[in-house]
């Protein structure tokens, strides 16, 4: 997935010289996860550069560049470190088009690795997407595979609104299904690991139906798409698994069509449960599919605790817990 993301930025920098890439360690070094490797060499230090360690400064200068007419793509080294930039994100990036009635805009993309599974402890494992989904004016995107990652990142960069682009870091090197004790599979063995070279897009706000099924709908995104698929396969439930890809604006039609059909719904995310994006999904499903629902909607999520370093696999909502959730939804 690292190469796919790199390729998306490469393609966009080549096509559009208003695209600039910056962040901590992203210039000469190419990023701590190597996603911007080679871009400075290819496009020069004034299009791909290192920044001071100041997430708010990164976002603020990106907004200013957006106002000028550039299209900045910035990296926040870990999603856990995006909080210092909250004010710039909420109070300015998200609100600029509205407050200037369209005269000033911030067409920025904020890439940031999220999620656990690499023993990062509480400050390298968070999934803060719910916060962004509450902020009108922001779009929030999370890919689950290299093919989508590239197509969605290109769409995000081309989008004229600010996009938070969360990259599940545990997926950087393979389609992790939650079985942490099994050997790591690389993306090369996965169909979505094949990524075309040039420009292509996956539209924002379109979910992907990754497994059709009849009995229960699973709404999920990011790493948990693979975990859900594993749980479904192992549990023998005929679940319809939907990878939301974009959380806001969410693809409501795909959700409603599926739940109306199956009558049951399991929501799976890695973030903490209370006021997580699963809450919004649950509310939407019950508002739109109330009369089709045959059982309570089930949320399978990270616990409402910080991500504990040594106990990370007890925290992570792995296939066993998702399977339990499926069972619960089937039993009602």
């Amino acid at each position: 997935m690292v190469q796919a993301l790199n390729s998306a930025m490469d393609v966009m920098m080549a096509r559009d010289d208003s695209v600039v890439v910056f962040g901590e360690d992203v210039g000469y070094f190419g990023g701590v996860f190597r996603c911007t490797e080679g871009l400075q060499r290819k496009y020069g230090p004034d299009r791909a550069f290192d920044t001071p360690i100041a997430e708010a400064g990164i976002l603020a200068t990106a907004v200013g560049m957006g106002v000028y007419g550039l299209r900045p793509v910035v990296e926040i080294q870990f999603a856990d470190y995006i909080y210092p930039a909250t004010d710039q994100l909420i109070s300015t990036a998200a609100r600029l088009r509205y407050r200037s009635a369209g005269e000033f805009t911030a067409p920025i993309t904020v890439r940031t690795p999220c999620g656990g599974g690499i023993f990062g402890g509480q400050t390298h494992s968070q999934s803060p997407e719910a916060i962004f989904t509450h902020v009108c004016g922001l779009k929030t995107v999370i890919p689950s595979n290299p093919y989508d990652a590239k197509g969605l990142l290109i769409s995000a960069i081309e989008d004229d609104d600010p996009v938070i682009f969360l990259e599940p870091k545990r997926l950087y090197n393979g389609p992790f299904n939650g079985h942490h004790d099994q050997a790591v599979t690389p993306w090369t063995e996965h169909p979505a690991g094949e990524v075309p070279e040039g420009h292509y897009t996956i539209p924002l706000s379109k979910a992907s139906l990754v497994r059709p099924g009849e009995d229960v709908t699973v709404l999920t995104y990011g790493t948990m798409v693979h975990v859900a698929l594993a749980a479904v396969a192992e549990g023998g439930v005929d679940a319809e698994v939907i990878d939301l890809r974009t959380l806001v604006p969410v693809d409501i039609d795909t959700i409603v069509t599926s739940v109306t059909k199956t009558g049951r719904c399991v929501i799976v995310h890695e973030a903490t449960r209370t006021s997580g994006f699963g809450a919004e999904l649950s509310a939407l499903v019950q508002e739109n599919c109330f009369y089709s629902l045959e059982a309570p909607i089930v949320r399978v999520t990270g616990w409402d605790t910080p991500y504990p370093h040594a106990l990370e696999w007890d925290y992570f909502p792995g296939p066993r817990r998702v399977a339990e959730g499926l069972r619960k939804a089937m039993e009602g």
Partner: protein, 410 residues
Amino acid sequence: MKNSVSLQLHVPEPAARPGQAPDFNWVKVPAAGSVTRPDISVEPGAIREHAYTLIRVLDDSGDAVGPWNPKLDLQTLQRGLRAMMLTRAYDNRMFRAQRQGKTSFYMPCTGEEAIGVAQAMALDHRDMTFPTYRQQGLLIARGWPLVDMMNQVFSNSRDRLKGRQMPIMYSSKAAGFFSIAGNLATHFPQAVGWAMASAIRHDDRIAAGWIGEGATAEGDFHHALTFASVYRAPVILNIVNNQYAISSFQGIAGGERTTFAARGLGYGLPSLRVDGNDFLAVHAVTTWAADRARSNLGSTVIELLSYRAAAHSTSDDPSKYRPADEASHWPLGDPIARLKQHLMALEVWSDEQHSRLAVEVDNEVRDAQREAESYGTMGTDEHHSPATMFDDVYKEMPWHLRRQRQELGF
């Protein structure tokens, strides 16, 4: 290893509180003309003292003296005087309009007019400005129509911001005037980002940002100076020290132990402290900083020393926290009176001319207000349709906002 002094928290206190006599003895005012004017290519380290002194051009008798005299022609001086007076007349009428219920809120810049006006005039009109809510003088000096500003203040049917923003939160791309931020300081590093973009595109336009001395305490101030220093961004970083942040005096912002200009030294940026009520001095230092920026020499920090002569806003009552007559004791005087004095010293201006101009600008404001009010005021119902509330959240309206608009009945 340690002594046994018991520790004490120091909480800064201003020199005078309500009921006490105003005290500005602590303001050191060097003679006009006494500060050197280095070449723009000077090493910042060589002019650190410029952050601790006060660049002044107009002396007590209204003569322009010393190396910072910008030697402006008469027409420019008169344009400046007119723009400052227009700004003051505008403030006065809008403040009254709030008291009359025509707008919910207003913020004047009384006493600080030289800053917006002289700086607008020293910049190129293509340069981008990132002001605070107290630089209406910038817009006025750039000739932006008062009616358009008032439409915003009245949130009326011609308000280009569609009634979305609080009064005085102007925004004009055409005037190179960035949308005013409610969240203090956020725009300051954005100005740096804009300037970086201009440099990335090998443009020749520079940026300028303004911030109040109170808001310098925000992290975004630090981000602005750090990024400006690291990338040598072509941006002028102005700190308007008007002594107050709502009720708290500049000591609470960190002004007790050093100047605000000194902040810039920590980043290796040249930092100038200027008499903010001296139109000529403000013009001169802004020109110097603009020339540096345009010559790829990077950013300059300017502290503009002034005094907030009026209330913070229409919601504020300064008599609660400072001596009522403090403004009249401010040692740097009033910017309009001082420029008037200068023109009179040059024998090109008279009291009559001045009075005539005062009437003229007031009439101009009155006429503009009449027109703006014809498009509605806060009290009336002439504003944009509630349906517009859902526009511009995103470029294209997503399904959930369309549904919500329907829920509202549109």
